[in-house]
């Protein structure tokens, strides 16, 4: 049966769907809020039904009928297998090495996949203060596969972040090993509204592997302060099917908590 691609979807939606494609049915996934939650719940409702979520605040494998508002939204424990504690999730699962995939985000991501969610300017004297790490640092440190969904803006993609809150490859292929991190070569996949990048473990740097439909490599360059390598086998991100868009809008985020740009579901 041929796929019925949709021609009615937003960039945000395709980012979430593309990110979801990196999740397998057997994965244990630690979730934050925002588009990652959309991507993960979408995966669970489509190709990865066996997936189990954990949330830093202590919820283990809840059944999320649709996207929660925050990681501490009371609904985050809905029909969970266990409503436990932060220690059980970040300590006994993430740090213990039992989580397969972590979603992260931040104000800046650099060519080594390092993330800044702490501040802009001299950290002793910050011009702009962000919230800080939360659970992100430990996820970046301990989880072997990191997914990042973000808008592709120049200021978000500097050559070097002003503060490494969550380490990527730090300063090159052996950066994590030198720093003493146990997970030395994680997969890091960045899904933006322009392209998909992942870390080339041999260089420790991001490389463009796929472009969003209609986007050129030049557009990526123009919106990135470093010059990412590009794959020899550059692909194009597969658009969503009509069914996928429907599931996203009607089941995953019917209240448009995160999918702001797409039309409201007619009721």
């Amino acid at each position: 049966m041929e796929k019925q691609y949709s021609d009615n979807y937003t960039r945000e939606e395709l980012m979430a769907i593309e990110a979801s494609r990196f999740i397998k049915s057997t994965d244990t996934v630690i979730l934050g809020t925002g588009l990652p939650m959309v991507a993960a719940i979408f995966a669970q409702k489509t190709h990865a039904r066996g997936i189990n979520f954990v949330v830093e605040s202590g919820s283990i494998d809840p059944i999320l009928p649709s996207v929660p508002f925050t990681v501490a939204d009371p609904i985050i424990g809905y029909r969970a297998i266990k409503t436990g504690s932060l220690r059980e999730v970040l300590g006994c699962l993430v740090q213990r090495g039992l989580v397969d995939i972590g979603f992260l985000g931040g104000a800046e991501i650099d060519q080594f996949g390092n993330i800044n969610s702490t501040c802009i300017g001299d950290p002793q004297n910050p011009k702009v203060r962000f919230p800080g790490s939360g659970g992100a640092n430990c996820i970046a440190s301990c989880v072997p596969k990191i997914l990042i969904i973000t808008q592709h803006e120049k200021r978000r993609f500097p050559a070097k972040v002003q503060f490494i809150t969550s380490p990527g490859y730090i300063d090159g292929p052996d950066g994590r090993k030198k720093a003493g991190l146990k997970v030395t070569k994680p997969e890091i996949i960045v899904v933006t509204d322009l392209c998909v990048m992942d870390i080339d473990a041999s260089t420790g740097r991001l490389k463009v592997t796929k472009l969003m439909p209609g986007i050129t490599v030049d557009q990526v360059y123009q919106n990135t302060r470093f010059r990412p390598a590009v794959s020899e086998h550059m692909g194009v991100v597969e658009p969503p099917t009509e069914d996928e868009v429907r599931i996203l809008r009607e089941e995953v985020d019917p209240k448009r908590v995160y999918l702001k740009d797409c039309p409201k579901t007619p009721r």
């Binding site: 202590g58 002793q124 800080g132 659970g135 430990c138 490494i164 380490p167 003493g180």
Partner: protein, 308 residues
Amino acid sequence: MSKVSKEVKVMSAQEAVERFVFDGAIIGIGGQNVSRCAVALAHEIIKQGKKDLTLTGCNLSIHMDLMVGAGLVKKCESGLGGQGKFGATFQFKRAIEEKRMEAEDYDHLTMVSRFLAGEMGIPFIPVRGLMGSDILNYQAASTKKKFEIINDPWNQGEKVLLVPAMEPDVTIVHVQKADEIGNVLIQGIASHEPELIRASKTTIVSCEEIISTQFFRSNSDYTTVPYHYIDAVVEQRFGAYPTATYGYYSFDADHINYYQQCSRAGGEEYKKYLDEYVYGCETFDDFIEKCGGVKKLNHLQREMVRLM
């Protein structure tokens, strides 16, 4: 002197804060984001003007922001300051940017590990995170020694990061149920609170309901923290409002948004918020009344019931 008391510990928020919170104290705070923040106790600390406080926890949220906004906090030592989808904790953000307050950044795992070391009575604990991050390259001026890296005695060539135990002087938490001697039942997600409470030198717990000790003795598998760690029990319905208490009421997005608007604006507008909603309310019940009273609460309770 025994360290543990089985006496009745029920008192008003006012009395609890007078007795256990002091200027310069390190205050552990429970709750996370929009859930079970100890707002009633934070209001009382603000009304009593306890100052030079250090606040510590994992996700410091609106209760932290209120105390910072009231000018009582000299340092935050935590995993994060923020309110998720509701945006920044603007008083926190501004106090750091304007250098009126120190921030000592760790991450959530490290903070809960530090409380774990505290509750276990050990001086430090290893964590697998933070290495390679700038969290290790910067520390607040008042912090003596943020971490130590040693060689792993069991795995040659491997480095291990140690962080010090954290034992707050007094912790404030809001929970669903407690009895009059201080047994605590947290329902739903427990966040960092079991470790935080046991690590603290004293703890004030506010609760939705005081239940019988017999309940705990008949359901002893479910007790979150026994009375050994608790110094004051404050009965305060809706004590986490405008944040949620699982099983009782949802968060009030309207009031949080209004708070955010005032906090973001700062200056006179923020001062007006404090005057109106904190200083201007003799009791926390008065605050709830001002925010919509019974009607509002019925609505938030219905929202919670729908989730359960």
